[in-house]
Symmetry: C2
Subunit: 327 residues, 2 copies
């Protein structure tokens, strides 16, 4: 009997799901719009229907051994999504318990950045690593820490919120209610804000002057930078400088072997990796210099969030005897 | 047969050692001057003699089961003291291996702040905690992280250097070679520097104006503050503000249940705890507010560093099957 797991990534707009084997091959995948459902129960019922359909399509001899869920504000200990600002359903959503009861297999839930970190360990470039960090660069900046081979959850199940360390206490407004958080500078949204700041401050011509804030995206900024656009290049330099400075602080906390950059902004390659590496080294306590690698995530395709979520189950099964948590 | 461990704390000036039981009772203790020995071998021989003498004084029925060592730049993985700037012997000192060979019992070595963290877990206020941080406020600022009940060592064995996160990249010169590190503001030396800065900037009369930098110490600043000295009080407020701001960043990394303050500066009580707590809360990502305790260490007497070092052995013995490292 071949074992597979289900991975579910719940984003504010779309929920992606798929059936994945131990080697990271995605057998089936699909998605449903997260925003479409008035009540959380309706959303859950639609997800359960979609999964049942997925399972029926599997050839015989394949068995689902668990469900992994990655979601913003997902809490590993409780299996709940707690007060997520990106979802329309308020309060505490006991999703892991509901999946467990519906499908009769273990369900492991955590936030999306933690899922990305476990995904890197199970399927990706961190297979042989015990201590590393994954930084997810999407709409915001998430982070997941693996220490001694174990996902760092913390006492309340909310460790790894590096996106909300401070760059400037009087800086840009953040969704969390504070000002100057790292993710307001370093994320898909952050680099857009930086482009607009640069366009405001400087006189240089730039192809980005013709694009509205709402229409601007990381891909456009990346392509403009590749064509030599001065503002776009400076935006990447600035973004990498701030990321590098703050990663130097993350390094002295947890002493990782490597830091992986994951998600949209990381696809810009050298444009973001080079300034990040340089400024991290410059700002590092000398004891750590030359020791820490900044690497691209191996999970780069559309299925990456599904892989991350599905990996939570393999990790749980591997560590079951050591009190890993599932519902 | 009652089991005891030996704890050795190697400071730049003095080496303290003692024989400690599982409950934290110190049976014998002593110290030798670290600075007195030209060669590292001479120092080791003197330590070995002192320990043998200590062991001979133990009543029958008591057995030494291991040796724990806390030392700046001590590396848990290698058992070496590596390039310590506070010792006269250069290079790599394989101390754990030497003790193991001399006494035939396991020897566990790590840096002094990590030893303090394990001490808090074994003997102190963190007995029931799985996720916490200890901040040691001595000549510098050290930190030790316990995550899921396990000391965080990192990939290179040097995790927890929070004293070298950045307060101001153009700030005070630090022994590490950088500028503006946290420990240049928050430590016994840091608050002295702050007092001198305040005396330079302001006109207020202060009893501290009569004391030279070399003679000034934390106790004098604390006593002056208790007597209402404006400069001394402002120095504590400023120190607590910076510590609180930076602890807010440490919290979002590791999500601890509590942060313990250990060592000289923490003895000032409310003078340091109140501004630290207030500024940490103000600077915290809202998700974490009201959740994290700042507490005094239970290890406050002269034997605290010996307790921390000796606790490393109990922790090692408790976790032996889980690949803890000893020589």
């Amino acid at each position: 009997m071949k074992e597979v797991t289900v991975g579910i990534d719940i984003g504010g707009t779309n929920t992606k799901y798929g059936v994945v084997d131990r080697e990271g091959y995605v057998h089936h995948q699909g998605n449903i719009p997260t925003t479409q459902f008035e009540s959380f129960q309706d959303y859950f019922d639609a997800m359960a229907d979609a999964l049942r359909e997925c399972i029926q399509l599997l050839p015989s001899g394949i068995k689902i051994v668990g469900i992994g869920v990655g979601a913003a504000n997902g809490n590993y200990y409780t299996g709940n999504i707690e007060r997520a600002t990106n979802l329309r359903w308020k309060g505490v959503l006991p999703l892991a318990k509901m999946f467990r009861e519906e499908f009769g297999v273990p369900c492991v839930l955590t936030n999306d950045a933690n899922a990305a970190a476990v995904g890197e360990m199970i399927y990706g470039n961190a297979k042989k690593m015990k201590d590393f960090v994954v930084i997810t660069l999407g709409t915001g900046l998430g982070s997941g820490f693996v220490c001694s081979g174990v996902l760092l959850n913390g006492h309340h199940g909310i460790a790894g919120e590096v996106g909300h360390t401070s760059v400037n206490p009087n800086g840009r407004y953040c969704n969390c209610g504070k000002r100057g958080c790292l993710e307001t500078y370093v994320s898909a949204t952050g680099i857009k804000r930086t482009v607009y700041k640069l366009l405001a401050d400087h006189l240089e011509p730039s192809e980005l002057r013709g694009i509205s804030f709402d229409n601007l995206n990381t891909k456009m900024i990346t392509e403009a930078a590749h064509r030599g656009d001065v503002v776009a290049r400076e935006a990447f330099e600035y973004t990498g400088r701030i990321l590098g400075m703050k990663l130097a602080e993350t390094v002295v906390h947890s002493d990782p072997e490597a830091i992986f950059l994951f998600g949209g902004l990381s696809m810009a390659g050298d444009l973001i990796f080079k300034p990040t590496q340089r400024h991290m080294e410059e700002n590092l306590m000398p004891l750590f210099r030359g020791k820490i690698k900044i690497l691209p995530s191996a999970l780069t395709n559309q299925a990456a969030p599904i892989l991350g979520a599905s990996s939570l189950v393999w990790d749980y099964l591997d560590k079951r005897e050591k009190s890993a948590i599932a519902y």
